[in-house]
């Protein structure tokens, strides 16, 4: 999915996070977004998901301008991996199945085999599928969040510090795997070194 941010201005009270900010990301390209805390990295992802509405300018995803009418369909083409998986009750399997029960995802059908294949790819044990999410370590939860995003088979993947809690050895493996996904457009917000991307945006320097 192609992404265009056109002359965005975003303010939170007195603070201006983006001022006349524009960005073009071609289809199937990967963008690495870096920058210090508060530079607007997470806000950028929130803007794309409609969780934050710009004061000025417009966002176009896959040819559609983000607005209250289009956002619901657009979210069905996006997968979002948060830095921390929200505190949900139930097992890893319950979470994955829950996401597949949404009307928009019912055509996908949850496949245990597909889930376990991803578990193997990301170094999780098969029995961890039955483990309560809250009992998984931070790094394991992050890998579960990535797996849940991949199972949804979306065109656009948004990763928000998605490997920050994954241990060093595993981190490289996860980064390599995701960097190798060439069919999806990807925006990777990260402090971690080692991501391979087509474009890099350092928000500390953009003003």
């Amino acid at each position: 999915m192609e992404i265009r941010l056109e002359h965005l201005t975003v303010r939170f009270g007195q603070k201006t996070v983006f001022s006349d900010f524009s960005l073009h990301l071609p289809v199937r390209s990967h963008l690495l977004v870096t920058g210090s805390s508060g530079s607007g990295k997470s806000t950028l992802l929130k803007l794309l998901l409609g969780f934050c509405v710009p004061d000025q300018g417009q966002i176009v995803i896959g040819g559609q301008t983000v607005n209250p009418r289009t956002i619901w369909q657009l979210r069905q083409r996006i997968a979002y991996v948060p830095q921390r998986l929200p505190s949900v009750a139930g097992t890893a399997r319950d979470l994955l199945e829950h996401l597949h029960q949404f009307q928009a995802n019912q055509t996908l059908r949850f496949s245990k085999q597909a889930a376990l294949a991803y578990f193997a790819d990301f170094g999780l044990q098969p029995d961890q599928l039955q483990q309560p999410v809250r009992e998984l370590s931070g790094g394991e939860q992050q890998r579960l969040a990535i797996i849940s995003a991949l199972l949804l088979q979306r065109d656009l993947l948004l990763l928000d510090e998605a490997t920050s809690a994954v241990d060093a050895d595993r981190k490289v493996q996860v980064m390599d795997y995701l960097s190798g996904l060439k069919d999806q457009t990807m925006i990777i917000v990260a402090h971690d070194q080692g991501w391979q991307a087509d474009h890099i945006l350092d928000l500390s320097q953009s003003d």
Partner: protein, 264 residues
């Protein structure tokens, strides 16, 4: 048992008020700082109940169906204001949804109760419509306060979970279901607990009133059972409707909870 209730003479009322000096003294001694609030609450209670008493004398004398329904509607209005103000939610967003939820759930359950018990011409009689309506609304009010507060507070505290579901393609309602489930549970739990202990731990107010008023324990218990069931139904309905009716105003078109929903 079958006598009319013993009237409370004026001097006895004075004695009851004098009894308040005891907790007031404790509040003063331990510096709880609620003496002023207690005084205001007692004065409000006295004035409000006296006024209601005077009005009820006329309403019972006229006993006009339209006026009785009007009484219930006004009561629902006061209940809606009181419910929203005793939460952290903003009246501007929640008065209309809570008013409609209490009106629809209260009136429908109330009419069901009256139609089952009374000849059709007495369904709107003051004795039943106003008195049972008051009991229903008082309880539904507590339920809707708990339900709505829990729903919106939890949603704000766990916004990351709600957004995670939205980002995964959930509709607004699909993303809200876990929060709604919790709020309904929170609203119904006190009623379930009080039903379970009723008659063992305490004698309920309606039953006590009826027995003092001269009813036999048999009749009083049947009324109490019936009223507990309709109260429970009314709470469940009012929470479901209250949350449903409030969704339209509380979220923007993107599904984000509006910042103005909570009082500062």
């Amino acid at each position: 048992m079958m006598d009319n209730p013993v009237p409370i003479p004026l001097w006895a009322m004075v004695a009851f008020y004098a009894l308040l000096l005891l907790p007031a003294g404790l509040i003063w001694y331990f510096r709880l700082g609620v003496l002023r609030r207690l005084a205001i609450a007692v004065v409000r209670m006295t004035v409000q109940l006296t006024l209601v008493g005077v009005l009820l004398i006329y309403w019972f004398r006229w006993d006009n169906a339209w006026l009785n329904v009007l009484w219930v509607v006004v009561m629902v209005g006061f209940a809606a204001v009181s419910a929203v103000q005793s939460s952290t939610l903003r009246l501007r967003y929640f008065f209309v949804p809570v008013f409609l939820a209490l009106l629809v759930s209260g009136l429908s359950v109330l009419l069901f109760f009256n139609v089952l018990l009374l000849p059709i011409r007495e369904v709107f009689s003051a004795q039943y419509l106003i008195i049972i309506g008051g009991m229903l609304l008082g309880n539904a009010l507590k339920g809707i306060v708990i339900g709505l507060s829990d729903f919106y507070q939890r949603l704000q505290d766990q916004q990351d979970a709600y957004r995670y579901y939205l980002a995964a393609g959930a509709s607004r309602w699909e993303a809200l279901i876990p929060f709604f489930r919790n709020s309904l549970q929170a609203a119904l739990n006190p009623s379930i607990a009080s039903m379970a202990t009723m008659g063992v731990v305490f004698l309920p107010g309606m039953m006590t009133g009826q027995i003092i008023g001269g009813a036999t324990p048999d009749t009083a218990i049947r009324y109490q059972l019936a009223i507990m069931i309709v109260i429970f139904v009314c709470i469940a309905l009012s929470v479901v409707l209250g949350v449903s009716f409030s969704l339209g105003r509380s979220f923007d078109g993107y599904g984000n909870l509006r910042a103005g929903v909570f009082r500062k």
